[in-house]
């Protein structure tokens, strides 16, 4: 009986070892497959042989660390103070004001029609040949390009719709009262 029991536990150990080996074998296979997939992707995406680049080329792509330049060596605030010529009205506009100006000028921006309408409504008091100052004022009120500036018109519209909603709600509630009682 003692011998039997010993043999049984040995057998269990052997079984356990076998199982452990099999589990390990699976894990190693997973690791190999993982590597194959990784390598295959690197090959197909074109970056597998990247670290074999010669010294010369590596120097060409070194990170640039100089003031006024980005990591690629390009000057990044070069266009801040430049002036651009509008292709539509041929005026000279500052670079930072160029995008909003183009919106109005081409009549394609979000608020360009509203502003155009406003101009028509306020009549022909203002000259066509107005200075760029006037247009800049409009730009400042434009929601698209500046934060925190609210157009009066928008607020009025909002209040109007809200009012409409409240009134409709009240009517509905009033109607319901009638049907319940």
């Amino acid at each position: 009986p003692c011998v039997d029991r010993l043999l049984l536990s040995d057998l269990c150990d052997v079984k356990m070892d076998g199982l452990a080996q099999d589990i390990l074998s699976d894990l190693v296979e997973d690791a190999c497959l993982g590597l194959c997939f990784e390598v295959h992707r690197a090959v197909k995406q074109g970056y597998f042989f990247l670290d074999d680049t010669d010294q010369e080329s590596m120097r060409d792509f070194e990170i640039v660390d100089q003031p006024g330049l980005d990591v690629f060596g390009q000057v990044y605030n070069q266009w801040k103070n430049k002036e651009c010529v509008c292709p539509n009205c041929s005026r000279s506009i500052a670079a930072s004001r160029f995008a909003p100006h183009l919106e109005k000028c081409l009549g394609m921006g979000r608020n360009s029609s509203r502003i155009a309408n406003r101009r028509i409504v306020t009549g022909n008091n203002t000259n066509n040949k107005s200075e760029s100052d006037q247009e800049d004022n409009d730009d400042v009120n434009d929601n698209d390009w500046s934060y925190g500036a609210e157009k009066k018109g928008d607020v009025v519209m909002l209040l109007y719709f809200f009012n409409l909603f409240v009134v409709t709600l009240n009517i509905r509630l009033y109607q319901m009262k009638f049907t319940i009682t």
């Binding site: 894990l27 190693v28 296979e29 690791a31 590597l35 090959v43």
Partner: protein
């Protein structure tokens, strides 16, 4: 299913459910990188790729060539450590 394979299936399931298999996988991966196995095998991959050509190499090419070599290159110390952990898990969770 024999009792044996039943037990095996049960243990494998437990391994996965308890997250131990994932942990073991990560441990193995880390050890293999540490001991240079990954770099060795990567270098071997380069040979395979140069042989088959960059454009035409398939996953199968790599797998059939790399897997047997990969298995053989695993250092004994790594094997020992993993086996230890696995046996510990089995001792805890294997019921006969």
């Amino acid at each position: 299913m024999s009792k044996d394979s039943q037990m095996r299936a049960a243990i494998n399931q437990k391994l996965i459910e308890m997250g131990e298999r994932e942990r073991l996988k990560e441990l193995l991966r880390a050890k293999l990188v540490e001991c240079g196995w990954k770099d060795q095998l990567k270098a071997h991959c380069k040979d395979v790729i140069k042989e088959k050509g960059l454009e035409h190499v398939t996953v199968e090419d790599l797998v059939t060539d790399v897997t047997p070599k990969g298995r053989a290159l695993v250092p004994d110390s790594v094997k020992k450590e993993l086996l230890q952990r696995i046996r510990a898990f089995l001792a805890q969770h294997a019921t006969l």
